[in-house]
C-alpha cells in the first residue's frame, strides 16, 4: 500500500506544537490563577462615589485626570487582606508621594471611617460604594483590588490581590515614569 509518509509525521508535529505551548507557558511565568482584566490599556471607568469624609465633595473623574498617575484602591474594613496591605499603602503615600484614591466597597461608611481612623488614612480622597454599583463598571471581583491609572486616565495595571513588596517592582516605575512626563 502506498501511504504518504508525511502522514506518519503528523502525531510528532502535533506533539511539537503542544510542547511548544507548554514550554512557553512555563517560561513566560504565566499565572493560571489570574483572571486578567479587560480594562488594562483602556480609559478608566467613571469614578462616582459619595465621599467617606463628611463635608467633602464626592469622588469624580477629575481626580483621574490630573496629569499624574494615581492608584485606585478598593478596600473594606471587613477584609483581612486589606488590613495586610494597609501599611504598604501608607508607605507609598507618605514616603513615595503616591496619590491614592480609596473606595470602601460594600462597607458601611461608619465602619470604614472607624477603620481608617484606627489605622491611618493614606488616601488623597476616599469614597464609598455601599452596594457595589460603581465597582461593577470597574470589573471588581472582590477586595482588595488596585488599579494604576496613568496621567491620561488610562488603566495601566489591575492587581486582583493585596499589594505586596513584590508588586513594587512593577508599580513604582510606572508611577515614577508618569510623574516625570506629567510634570
Amino acid at each position: 500500500m502506498k501511504t504518504n509518509r508525511l502522514l506518519f509525521l503528523l502525531p510528532l508535529l502535533m506533539l511539537a506544537i503542544l510542547a511548544g505551548f507548554f514550554g512557553w507557558s512555563l517560561l513566560a511565568g504565566r499565572d493560571p490563577q489570574s483572571i486578567g482584566s479587560p480594562l488594562v490599556g483602556r480609559a478608566a471607568p467613571h469614578l462616582a462615589a459619595p465621599s467617606l469624609r463628611e463635608g467633602q465633595p464626592p469622588l469624580d473623574d477629575a481626580l483621574l485626570h490630573t496629569g499624574k498617575p494615581v492608584l485606585v484602591n478598593f478596600f473594606a474594613s471587613w477584609c483581612a487582606p486589606c488590613l495586610a496591605e494597609h501599611p504598604l499603602m501608607s508607605r507609598l503615600a507618605q514616603r513615595e508621594g503616591v496619590t491614592i484614591i480609596g473606595v470602601a466597597w460594600k462597607n458601611k461608611p461608619d465602619e470604614a471611617r472607624a477603620w481608617l481612623a484606627r489605622l491611618g488614612d493614606p488616601f488623597k480622597a476616599v469614597g464609598y460604594d455601599l452596594e457595589g454599583r460603581m465597582a461593577l463598571d470597574w470589573g471588581l471581583s472582590g477586595v482588595p483590588e488596585t488599579f494604576l491609572i496613568d496621567g491620561q486616565g488610562i488603566v495601566r495595571l489591575h492587581v486582583r490581590a493585596p499589594i505586596g513588596e513584590q508588586d513594587l517592582d512593577r508599580l513604582l516605575p510606572l508611577l515614577k515614569a508618569g510623574l516625570g512626563s506629567g510634570s
Binding site: M1, F8, L15, A19, F22, S25, L26, P32, G36
Partner: protein, 675 residues
C-alpha cells in the same frame, strides 16, 4: 536511618534501571542471549529496591517521623492510621514514589509472566519500561526527594489536607496510577514492536491483557474519583470537567479505542500501525495528565504544590518519551505490512468507526482542556471552558458511538450487511423509543434531549443483552443447547456484554441525575420542617461531635413520609483542628434507585443552619454501572485465551515466513526461539 536506607535503595534502583534500559537493548540488537537475560533479573531487582524505598517512606509516615520534611508537610500524629498510610501518596513526592513503584511492579510482572514472549521482544519491552523508570527516578531524586531530613525536627506535622482524609480518596490515586502506569507496558510493547519491525496477531494477544488490566484499573480509579467528588465536595454533581478529571478521561478514551483496535489486529491482522499509534498515545496522554497536574500550567481543584522547575523537567521528559515514541513511529510504522482487507460495512469497519469516534471525543476533551491556555498565551484573553462546551460537543459525539455500539457485534468480519443486524435489534430499538417517549411524557416533557439520551441508555442495555441471548440461542433453542453454548462461549465475549450493558446503566444514571434532580437550599432552625420530593424533612437537632482529629457539628434531619418515619440523615461539618479547615460530610440515603442527599452549611441556633437537599434519581447507577464496566474488563481478562502462557507465536515450518503473514498463533506446538 530508615529514610536513608530508602533513599539509597532509590539511588540503587536508578542505577539498575539505567543498566536495564541499555544492556538488554544492545543484546536484542546483537542477538546476544546473555545480555538479554539481564533484563529479567534487573526488572525484579529494580522492583524490589523501589518497594524497599516505598516501605521506608511508609514507615516514616506510620511512625510519624517528623525529622523527614515530607512527613512534616503532610502528616500529623493524631491522624488515623489509614490516612497516615494514604498520606504517603497524598502529596507530590509520595505520589511520584507510588508512580515508580507501580511502574517497576508492572515491569517485574512482564518479567515473570512474559516467559513465553520471544526473548528479543521481552528484553526490548523491559528495557523501554526501565528507560521510563530512569526518567521518573531522576525526577524524584533530583527535584522531588521525599527522604529529605529536617533539623531540628518539629514536634508535630502540618497534617494532610482534610478533603483527602476519606476512605474513597485513600484508594483513588493507587487505582488511577495502576491505570496510567499500566499503559506504560502497552507503550513499551509498541516501542519494542517498532524496534522489531513487526506487529502481528501474537503481538496483539500479548498486548491485550496489559491494556485490559490498565483500562480496568483506570475505569475504577475514575469512578472512585467521581464518587468521591459527589459525596465529599457536596455540590451534588458527579463530573465537573475539571482539567484533571479530563486528564484522566483522555487516556481512558484512547485506551478504550486501543482495546477495540487490538481485537482487529488479533483477529484480522489489520489496523496494525493505527493500533501501535494508539498504544503510544494512551500512555502519552497519561503522562500529559501528570504534567498538567504538577506543572501548574492549568488551574484545577487537584492542587499539588506547583513548581516551574518540576514543570520543565516533566515537559522535557514528556518530549523525550512521547517524541521519541512518535519519531520511531514516523520512521518505522510506514514499513509495517498492512494485513487483512475489509469492507467498510463489517466488524472491522464498525471497530474503525468506534476508534474514530472515541479519538474524536479524546481530541474534544483535549481541546477544551487546553484552549484557555492557548488563548491566554496567544491573545492574553482569559476564558474558562466548562460544562456548556463539553455538553455541546462531547455529548453529541456520544450519540453515534452508542448507536453503532449495539449493531457492531452483530456484524461479521470482512464483509457484512447493516440491515440484518438492525432487524435483530428491533426489540432494543422498540424499548429505547418507547422508553424515551414514556420518560419524556411522564417526567418532563420539555427535556426532549434528556429523554432521547435516556432512550440511548435503554438501547445500550437491551441491545447488548440481545446480542448475548442470540449468541447463546437463549429461548430459541433447547436448554441443553444453550448450556453447551454457555460453556463454549469465551469469557471475553461475556466481558463485552457486561461492559456494554454497564455503559447503558451509566448513561441512564447520568442522564437522570443531571436532568431530573431536584434541589432545595433553605435555612432550618431546630424543629423547622420542609416538604421535599414527597417527604417532610425536619431538623431535629444539631449537636457537637468529636472525631480523632476534628470537631464536628452534626445535624439530625428526620425524614417522614406522610407522618411515618422514613429515615434520618446526619450531615456534618467537620473542623480539622490542625489545618483549621472545614469540610462538609454529606449524608446520603440510597435505595439504589435514587439518592436523598443532604449537606449542612454554616449557621447557629438563632439564625438557623443552611441545609442543601438533593433528590438524585438513578444516581447510584453511575458508579455501580462504571464498576460493572470494569468488572466486564476483568471477566474478559480471565479469558483462557488471554491467560498467561496461552498466546504463542506460530511455529514449525511456517515460523520462517514473514511474521506479518501469520494468522492467529494457535495454542499448541512447541515454542519458537526466534531472534
Amino acid at each position: 536511618m530508615i529514610p536513608e536506607l530508602g533513599h539509597f535503595a532509590l539511588i540503587l534502583a536508578f542505577a539498575v534501571a539505567i543498566v536495564q534500559g541499555t544492556v538488554p537493548l544492545l543484546g536484542a540488537a546483537r542477538g546476544d542471549l546473555r545480555l538479554m537475560a539481564l533484563a529479567r533479573t534487573a526488572a525484579l531487582t529494580q522492583a524490589f529496591l523501589i518497594a524497599l524505598a516505598f516501605v521506608a517512606l511508609t514507615e516514616a509516615y506510620v511512625t510519624s517521623d517528623f525529622s523527614v520534611a515530607n512527613v512534616v508537610a503532610n502528616s500529623h500524629s493524631a491522624k488515623p492510621l489509614l490516612y497516615k498510610i494514604s498520606g504517603v501518596w497524598g502529596n507530590h513526592e509520595g505520589s511520584m514514589m507510588l508512580w515508580v513503584l507501580i511502574l517497576s511492579v508492572f515491569g517485574a510482572a512482564v518479567a515473570i509472566f512474559g516467559a513465553n514472549l520471544p526473548d528479543t521482544l521481552r528484553s526490548r519491552v523491559l528495557s523501554v519500561q526501565a528507560l521510563i523508570g530512569v526518567g521518573f527516578l531522576a525526577f524524584i531524586l533530583f527535584t522531588s526527594n521525599p527522604f529529605l531530613r529536617l533539623s531540628p525536627a518539629p514536634p508535630d506535622g502540618n497534617g494532610l489536607n482534610p478533603v483527602l482524609q476519606d476512605p474513597g480518596l485513600a484508594f483513588h490515586p493507587p487505582l488511577l496510577y495502576l491505570g496510567y502506569v499500566g499503559f506504560s507496558v502497552t507503550y513499551s510493547f509498541a516501542i519494542a514492536a517498532l524496534l522489531e519491525g513487526r506487529v502481528d496477531a501474537a503481538w496483539a494477544r500479548w498486548v491485550r491483557p496489559w491494556t485490559l488490566a490498565a483500562w480496568c484499573f483506570l475505569t475504577l480509579g475514575i469512578t472512585l474519583g467521581s464518587w468521591w467528588s459527589y459525596y465529599i465536595l457536596g455540590w451534588g454533581g458527579f463530573w465537573f470537567w475539571d482539567p484533571v478529571e479530563n486528564a484522566s478521561l483522555m487516556p481512558w478514551l484512547v485506551g478504550t479505542a486501543l482495546l477495540h483496535s487490538a481485537i482487529v489486529v488479533e483477529k484480522r491482522d489489520a489496523l496494525k500501525s493505527w493500533t501501535v499509534l494508539l498504544a503510544i498515545l494512551a500512555f502519552s496522554l497519561s503522562l500529559l495528565g501528570t504534567f498538567l497536574v504538577r506543572s501548574g500550567v492549568l488551574t484545577s481543584v487537584h492542587a499539588f504544590a506547583n513548581d516551574p522547575a518540576r514543570g520543565l523537567f516533566i515537559l522535557a521528559f514528556l518530549v523525550v518519551v512521547i517524541g521519541g515514541g512518535l519519531a520511531l513511529y514516523a520512521w518505522r510504522a510506514p514499513s509495517l505490512q498492512p494485513g487483512g482487507l475489509f469492507q467498510p460495512i463489517s466488524r472491522e469497519g464498525a471497530l474503525v468507526l468506534n476508534n474514530l469516534l472515541l479519538c474524536t471525543l479524546a481530541a474534544t476533551v483535549l481541546l477544551g482542556t487546553l484552549y484557555p491556555l492557548f488563548l491566554d498565551l496567544v491573545s492574553g484573553d482569559k476564558v474558562s471552558v466548562g460544562p456548556p462546551f463539553f455538553n455541546a460537543t462531547f455529548v453529541p459525539i456520544c450519540a453515534p458511538l452508542f448507536a453503532a455500539l449495539c449493531a457492531a457485534p452483530f456484524l461479521g468480519w470482512k464483509r457484512a450487511e447493516v440491515w440484518p443486524a438492525l432487524v435483530r435489534l428491533r426489540a432494543a430499538f422498540a424499548v429505547a423509543v418507547v422508553g424515551a417517549i414514556a420518560t419524556g411524557y411522564l417526567i418532563d416533557h420539555r427535556a426532549t434531549l434528556a429523554a432521547a439520551a435516556f432512550g440511548f441508555g435503554l438501547w445500550l442495555i437491551v441491545g447488548s443483552l440481545l446480542e448475548c441471548a442470540e449468541r447463546l440461542k437463549l429461548f430459541a433453542a433447547p436448554w441443553a443447547e444453550t448450556k453447551r453454548r454457555l460453556r463454549a462461549t469465551p469469557r471475553a465475549s461475556f466481558g463485552m456484554t457486561i461492559a456494554h450493558t454497564a455503559l447503558g446503566f451509566v448513561v441512564l444514571g447520568a442522564v437522570a441525575t443531571a436532568a431530573w434532580n431536584t434541589e432545595l437550599i433553605r435555612t432550618f432552625k431546630i424543629g423547622d420542617t420542609a416538604a421535599f420530593a414527597g417527604w417532610q424533612i425536619t431538623l431535629a437537632k444539631v449537636e457537637p461531635v468529636a472525631g480523632p482529629n476534628y470537631e464536628a457539628e452534626r445535624a439530625t434531619l428526620v425524614v417522614t413520609d406522610a407522618g411515618t418515619p422514613y429515615t434520618t440523615l446526619t450531615p456534618e461539618r467537620r473542623l480539622f483542628l490542625v489545618q483549621r479547615r472545614e469540610v462538609s460530610e454529606t449524608s446520603i440515603h440510597t435505595n439504589l434507585l435514587r439518592d436523598l442527599y443532604a449537606t449542612l452549611g454554616e449557621g447557629d441556633a438563632q439564625k438557623g443552619w443552611t441545609v442543601r437537599l438533593y433528590y438524585n434519581p438513578l444516581a447510584p447507577w453511575i458508579w455501580l454501572g462504571a464498576a460493572l464496566c470494569a468488572l466486564g474488563g476483568f471477566v474478559s481478562l480471565s479469558d483462557r485465551r488471554l491467560r498467561v502462557g496461552a498466546p504463542k507465536r506460530l511455529l514449525g515450518p511456517r515460523a520462517s515466513r514473514p511474521a506479518h503473514s501469520l494468522r492467529e498463533g494457535g495454542p499448541g506446538g512447541p515454542r519458537s526461539q526466534k531472534t
